[in-house]
Structures are given as structure tokens and as C-alpha cells.
Amino acid sequence: MSEDYVSPWETRLGWLALSAVVLAIMSPVLYSIYISFNEHGFGAARYDFTTAWYAAVFEDAQLLSALGWTVALALATVVVTIPFALLCAKLFKRLRRKLWLVFLILMPLFAPADIFASSLLVFFKTLNGTFEGIADATGLPVGHFFQLGFVTATIGLIVYTLPYAFVVILITMGRYNAEQTEAARACGATAWQAFLQVEFPQIRPGVLAATAFTVILVFNEYVRSNALKGGFDTFTTVLISQMLNIGMSEQSYAMGGMMSLTAISVVAAILAWTFARRAQLTRRAAAPAGN
């Protein structure tokens, strides 16, 4: 139906309501960022701007180690999740019976985080016992394969992030015309050349968005990381454990602020890039063309 007869006030009210909802959701986050820049911390009557709490985060060896592990986890997860999500999305486009694939890939989203984390924990403990048994019996160096640590945490995070990455890539891929791949093949390209030179450049925004989303998810994840990480800490597990054990310190607010600002910046950058690209395409499309 045409929008010609919709009152402009209806649209304005819609935007107002949406802004109010977003503000309500974001206000605790914005407030904690506000506190993180106060020299006197939470609840103080005075407000003096400082970046000292952020500096303190970077002077703390434990936090820096946690940051390092988190970055490593994010990288390892991205390296596996993104190509796998890409393959799943390509398989989805090719399959006739798509429902089963969607069901299988999205299933992890419908299991509560703590249930999923504890299930994986039990699974890896059992697997670890089996591998230790194999190592004892055969002398093969496989006993440590599934000890809780970086590998188990990465696997947990891959299972967690894959559905999200799949959906983001699939949305971008939905706009790709598969006949372009056939056209490239008809021009002499192998299947791999057609993908790399024709399809990938067009779905790249989706792949980048999925990568950014995966990194954010890994940085934000607590339940699975905490259950499967073994002997190291991640940024979020340190933050949560500080909150639970010693309460929110100014440093905690700074850590929370860093994570929130990073996530918001990534999303804002993707949005800005998308809008800029759309504006560029619109300008080009509007350029005069002959017959």
C-alpha cells in the first residue's frame, strides 16, 4: 500500500517511540560509561573527568593477560566460524530442502546459555577422560587434547557464534544473483575463481559484518567462556568475577565502558559504511544513461 496518505505525525511518533525504547535500553550502559570517566567513582557527589581508570586497566597485568586471551579466542573463533558459516550459507542456497539445514544450524540458539555451557563442559570432561585413557593405553600424545582450555573454549564459542554469522552472511548472499557465477564459469573461470573473483567481492560486506559480530559476541560471552576456558581468564570473566567478588570498582566500569564503546563503535562503523555505500550506489544509479 502507498504511504502517501500516512500522516507525517504518525511517522514522527513512531521514531520518537523507537528512540525512547533505545534510550531506555541503553541508559544503564551509557550511565556506567559516564561513571567510568568520573575520578570519584560511583555514587560520588562530585564529577571530575578522568581517564585514569582506563589507564589503570592497561597497567593491570591480569587484565592485559585476559585481554590477550580474549583477542586470541576471538581470532580463533573468527578463523573457523566465518568460513564455516560461508560454506553453510552456500550450501543453503544450493539445497532444495533448506529447512533441515536452517534447523540444524540455528538449533544452538534455542538452548539456554547455561544449559549449553554445562552440556559442553560434561561432554569435554568425558571426552578428555577418553583421550587420557587412549594416551595411557597407547602412549600417544593425545591425553591433553580435550583438557579444558583454549581449544574447548574456542569450540564452545564457535558453536555459539556460528548461527549468528550464518544468518548475517545469508542475508547478504540472498541479494547475490547466482547466474553471475554461471556467467563467470561460461567465461572460463573455475568454480573457485568464480567464487573468489565474482561472488566474494559482492558478499564481502556481509562477511565483514559477520566477522565484527562474531568478535563482539566472543568479547561479550561469559557463560560458555567461563565454563570451558580452563586456567585462563577472559576480559568478561574477569569483569564478572570482580563484580561478584569485590563489587563494581571504577576499574570495572572502565572495563565495561571499553567493551561497550568498542561494540557500539563497530556497529556504528558498519552502519555508517552501509549508508555511505548505499548513498554512493544511489548517486551512481541516478547518473544519466543513454538507451
Binding site: A183, A186, C187, A189, R284, A289
Partner: protein
């Protein structure tokens, strides 16, 4: 030098030779034991209704569909197991399928670069082909800046730049408006005559097929119904399906009542319908078809085949006027006559009329 792969076959070999080609999609038989030969250097059209299997056949030639059975020989070489990039074919798609992240020149030079031509040589060849399709100076444009007709030309240039032995065109003009489609038909025909390679063109549009084709094959229900020169297909269709699908023909189904002096008669409620017997014997199930422009309309019966009918309506179509009449059983016939003549005017609904034709203009179909 030619750039298409696998080109060691002699030039006089049939460009396309298909034997027993079959393809099923579950219970649907998309191709059913199709045999087809296409002469090298000809413009060949696969014509048929949607879902008839013509695009499946074209895609099997291009290597985009693996047949369940049968062989495909292109330029003398068996290729049914080869991927598209190893066949001597180029392809033009209905949806254009241009690469939007490349310029016009980038699109045309894409395959040339894959063939490892130097950047300068690829550019020179791409520009030459663009000029040939009327897009000289468009190389630096983005593809979305072009109109539909221009995009189709870029696609043609991209395919022709590789100098394939056979160019496959899948409903190439379907997305264009009627006027542009007509212009592009002539351009395609002239282009094919200039480059001299084999064009295999899929369409459901008869006019398009008639305009461009040296030969036409009708495909329906996964089968090759009939093939021949456009005039043959239009004027002397062998099969009932062809008579019904191509142009506007009036059909009379029934049993051959009698054969006399080589003329067979099928009884209709308005009288006997006559056509050359073509070897049919009395009692045979058959159909007679007559083109609507071969029928005459009169108030009095004329010599030859003549049926009594009731006049219903007239539709002015510009070059011709179409008259609709009904036989006594209600079956309608269409007659096309020149507007303004004595037979065209003065009719009123329900009036008795006579429809006639020269039996030599009719066709008897035994299938």
C-alpha cells in the same frame, strides 16, 4: 587466433549433436531422450512453452546441468562430462548476469584475463568487441548506469570476446520492452551473420524466433516436437502441437471420414473440413489445422472447404481485422482478413456465415 577451448574439431562438423539426452527432477521429466543436430554457423532457435524443457536443454549444452543420460557433442567433441569453463560455448543470460563490481570493460575483459591475455591485449580486444555491439566509449561506465538494452549488449560482448564456437542465449530479450526487443532481434541476427558462429537461442516468443532463426526446434514436455526452417514450421507444421503453438491456427479434431483425390475430410458440425490426406486412411484419428489468415468469410458458400457458422464479433488489430465465428456446436473459429474489404463490413451478431479455405492451405495431423 581463437580463444575458445577444445577447438581442434573440423569446421564442417555439426556444431551441436545431442543424442538421447534425458534429465529428471524428481517425478518431473525435464528432458526425454532428446536428439538434436545443429549445423555449424546457423542461428538455431529452441521455441516452446514455459516449462517445456528448452532452457534445460540449453543449460545442458552449456554445462550447467549434468544430464542423467545421453551424449552432448559440441564442435565434434563429446562434452557431457566437462564443466562449463571447458566447453567451446559462451552464454547470454536473461537476467544479464553482469558483474556489478566491475566496469563495462572489466566485464568484457574478464574472460580474456582468465585466458592469460596481457592487460593491453585484453583491453584492446574488449574495446573492439564493445564497438562491434555499438557500445564504443562505454568501457569505463559501471554496468548499473546502462539501460536494459545496453546491459544486454555488454553481455553479448563479454561472450563474443572469447570467440566461442557456439553462443547460447537463454531468453536474452525477455526483459526488454517490445520495441527494444524487436530492434535487438535484428541486431542479434546481423551480429550472428557477421561473426559467423553458431547461435542457439531459447525463447517462448514466436515472433522473436521467426525474426532471427535459420532453423527452429519446438520443445514441449521435455521432447523435441518438430524442427525445420521458420517458413516450414509456420506454413506446413507436421505436428498438431506445432500448428497450435505457432501462429494462430484453427483446429478441427476428429476421425477421417473419407479420402478422395488425395483430400481427407473430417466431419464437423458445420460441414466437412478438408485437407491434403498425407497418407491418412479413413477412420484414422486426426486433426486438421488452417491458419486464420488463410480462411475466408462470406455470406454465401464458396467452392472448396466451406463450413456453416454464426458470426459473433470483429476485433480491429491494425493490419488485419479478426472475425470470430462459431460452429453449430459452439466451437469458435478465428478468421483474419484485410480491414475495409467487402467481407470485413456489415456483419451483425448471430448472422449466418460461411467459412472457407483452399484445402491445399490446410494441414492434416495424425499425432
Amino acid at each position: 587466433m581463437t580463444l575458445a577451448p577444445d577447438l581442434d574439431a573440423p569446421a564442417d562438423t555439426a556444431a551441436v549433436s545431442v543424442r538421447g539426452l534425458a534429465k529428471r527432477y524428481g517425478p518431473v521429466r525435464a528432458l526425454d531422450a532428446v536428439d538434436l543436430d545443429i549445423e555449424a554457423g546457423s542461428y538455431f532457435v529452441l521455441l516452446g512453452p514455459s516449462g517445456g524443457g528448452k532452457t534445460t536443454l540449453l543449460r545442458a549444452l552449456g554445462g550447467f546441468i549434468r544430464p542423467d543420460a545421453g551424449t552432448v557433442r559440441l564442435a565434434g567433441r563429446e562434452v557431457q562430462d566437462l564443466p562449463p569453463n571447458r566447453r567451446p560455448t559462451g552464454m547470454v543470460f536473461q537476467s544479464y548476469a553482469l558483474f556489478p563490481h566491475m566496469s563495462v570493460l572489466g566485464n568484457v575483459a574478464y574472460g580474456l584475463k582468465l585466458r592469460r591475455l596481457s592487460a593491453e591485449e585484453a583491453r584492446a580486444r574488449a574495446e573492439a568487441v564493445l564497438a562491434r555491439v555499438g557500445l564504443d566509449g562505454y568501457g569505463e561506465r559501471r554496468v548499473w548506469e546502462l539501460s536494459g538494452g545496453q546491459q544486454q549488449r555488454v553481455q553479448l560482448a563479454r561472450a563474443l570476446a572469447l570467440e566461442p564456437r557456439i553462443l547460447l542465449l537463454d531468453e536474452p530479450l525477455a526483459a526488454l520492452d517490445a520495441k527494444l526487443r524487436k530492434e535487438m532481434c535484428y541486431e542479434l541476427k546481423h551480429l550472428q551473420e557477421q561473426v559467423g558462429i553458431t547461435f542457439v537461442h531459447v525463447t517462448h516468443n514466436q515472433e522473436e524466433a521467426m525474426t532471427v532463426a535459420d532453423r527452429i526446434a519446438l520443445i514441449s514436455d521435455g521432447r523435441l516436437v518438430e524442427s525445420g526452417a521458420p517458413k516450414e514450421i509456420y506454413e506446413r507444421p507436421r505436428r498438431r502441437f506445432t500448428a497450435e503453438f505457432v501462429g494462430e491456427r484453427n483446429l478441427f479434431d476428429g476421425r477421417v471420414a473419407a479420402v478422395e483425390d488425395g483430400i481427407a475430410a473430417i466431419e464437423t458440425p458445420g460441414g466437412p473440413a478438408l485437407a491434403p490426406a498425407e497418407g491418412a486412411a479413413p477412420g484414422a484419428e486426426a486433426a486438421i489445422s488452417v491458419r486464420s489468415e488463410r480462411l475466408t468469410l462470406s455470406r454465401e458458400p464458396r467452392p472448396g472447404a466451406a463450413l456453416r457458422a454464426e458470426w459473433r464479433e470483429r476485433v480491429y488489430l491494425g493490419l488485419v481485422a479478426q472475425h470470430i465465428v462459431a460452429l453449430p456446436d459452439g466451437r469458435e473459429l478465428s478468421i483474419r482478413i484485410a480491414p475495409g474489404g467487402p467481407e470485413d463490413a456489415g456483419w451483425s451478431a448471430g448472422e449466418l456465415c460461411h467459412v472457407g479455405w483452399d484445402p491445399a492451405d490446410a494441414r492434416l495431423h495424425l499425432d
